[in-house]
Symmetry: C2
Subunit: 337 residues, 2 copies
DNA sequence: CTGAAAGCGCTTACAG
DNA sequence: CTGAAAGCGCTTACAG
């Protein structure tokens, strides 16, 4: 059913019905109530395409993901938070899949030119990231999940990655550890650079040098943690402690430690960054896992809020937040042997 | 830039440009090439809303997810496969978040009435699922991931859940196990019922009764595997083998077995269903994990294909597939002690 | 092979 | 407080 038919059933003009539905003030209260009730009863909803054409708003937030690796546990948690907030406004998430960095840029051009979304969220900024500039030039509103290097009139939400790893490393140093391994994301990603700085700075605080043999990089998978940890344990002067970038890599690292006949929390201390996944909790591991904790789902919800504010005209410069990360000490970290 | 301006730059009518872009045959080859080149150069793309209004097609496939639990590892893998196929047609995925079963039904009504998507994918059908009937009555095209009970003119893709668990249980029985625990999804979900039947049937094949104390149900999380396995191990007549519904629950089960001082693949055999996650592989576990294997990502890609065929007018009844599941024997299953 | 114009279903400035 | 009509940017039947 379209507006024309719906209005004629109510014996009102399309104008009045449209205004009643959109909450315009100049409609008589009794008229509005009648219209609202009928819409619910008859299931009338404005056609999104017509609405988009008439208003320029389509009620969707875009996110572009690489089909290879970006449909992972971090992304789904983030989207859960994002969607949870957006649903209240009946705004949906439009996911565009791409298979390369080049294709990602093309996707933003397509989304902008075809007016498919009202705004997008940009994730995992990296060094010399061309995406920020592109979106700006396309005039496609966006909020960054993470913190780009570039200056500009855009909003972002980041967690304190420096502080997280600095605290974690510091905690291990305070416990007497001097050989501390570090499982980081790929260099070049801003979050990984910040974490690297946190690691480095903590070591420097204690007058310790950074041993490149103790730092590994990769995707945060179980396999990454397993392989890299196996490598660390083969070193002549192996580490007594490890900082892992995620629960997934921590799982792999724990297994590598175990099959080497060593005990987590005794022979080797382990602390991980916890993005708070509902299906794998540091409390349930054996031993319970010390973590730096920050919910990626909460970040998604907050970014949804920021996007809504941005679309309501709030200046992008005012939409910037760094979230602190909480250190939670459990049984996997102990005094150095 | 809109069509009017784009056409005038080319000194052609909107009609001709539109036809050239849409690949209509009645356009002169040289004209078409000129238009296509200019579109690329100037970045012209038809406005999606206008296109949607004019054609009724919006270039998006919908999926409705519950914010609480459905943004998980299975869903993201599935969407990765779905998006990977859809991107070739420049079709996006529209994700609607809801927080209850009731809200999910409302979401479908909204998507249908507002013509926000061309079709949807329905996932995890359950007993007496009202969604199939609703979508049918809304005339919103859909493909089911899974296999509903109801008959009707719709397509679906399911894996052989019965066969998977039947094979797995049978494998354990053949190895001499007689006390076999089973970590299943929630009863009521069709896939869980099929798996239950597979388990039951394998036991019956061997003339064994089903012991309800050995069957547990829940979400496929690490925690679920851990808790339920702990319970099984406390039984006076504890199981010598376990069939786990997913890699996540298998991880938890392995941990529970280990902290009980038992060895997987020696004291307790373990086999899991593997949906093939890129970040956690049965090959990397210790011991390597026997599995029944079927890629959920591949299923997503195939369902994308089926949706495209459906939209091209292929009869829904011809779009039905059951995928076999492969048994992969590794080190976690061995002769009963 | 090409073009003028109606129509898709809304919103909103303008008029009353 | 209400309505007639223009306009958003496309596609496509119709005419040539």
């Amino acid at each position: 059913m379209n507006l024309k038919e719906f209005a004629s059933r109510l014996e009102l003009s399309q104008t009045t019905v449209s205004r009643a539905l959109s909450g315009y003030p100049e409609v008589k209260q009794s008229t509005r109530e009648k219209v609202l009730r009928a819409a619910l009863e008859l299931g009338y909803r404005p056609n999104t395409s017509a609405l988009g054409l008439a208003t320029g708003r389509v009620g969707a937030i875009g996110i572009v993901l690489k089909g290879g690796g970006e449909f992972g546990p971090h992304t789904s948690e983030f989207m859960g938070g994002l969607g949870n907030r957006l649903q209240k406004e009946e705004i949906d998430i439009l996911v565009s899949t791409v298979d390369s960095t080049e294709a990602e840029l093309t996707a933003y051009r397509r989304l902008a030119a075809s007016k498919r979304v009202d705004a997008v969220v940009l994730h995992s900024p990296y060094i010399d990231d061309p995406r920020v500039e592109l979106l700006t030039s396309l005039r496609l509103p966006f909020i960054v999940h993470g913190r780009p290097q570039a200056e500009g009139a855009f909003g972002w939400l980041d967690i304190d990655n420096f502080g997280a790893v600095h605290q974690a490393t510091r905690h291990l140093l305070d416990l007497g550890h001097r050989r501390i391994a570090f499982l980081n994301g790929y260099r070049g990603r801003i979050f990984a650079e910040h974490r690297q700085d946190g690691y480095q700075t903590a070591l420097t605080d204690y007058g310790l040098p950074l041993d490149p043999a103790l730092a590994g990089n990769g995707e945060f998978t179980d396999e990454m943690g397993f392989r890299l940890m196996q490598g660390f344990l083969k070193l002549p002067d192996r580490p007594t402690a490890v900082v892992a970038g995620s629960m997934m890599s921590a799982l792999g690292a724990m297994r590598a430690i175990r099959i080497e006949g060593l005990k987590v929390g005794e022979d080797i201390s382990l602390i991980a960054h916890d993005d708070v996944f509902p299906y794998i909790s540091p409390e349930n591991l054996v031993p319970t896992l010390s973590t730096t904790r920050s919910s990626i789902r909460a970040a998604g919800a907050r970014i949804a809020e920021m996007l809504l504010e941005l679309l309501q005209g709030k200046p992008a410069e005012s939409l910037r937040e760094v979230w602190p990360v909480e250190l939670v000490v459990r049984r996997s970290t102990a005094a150095a042997p």
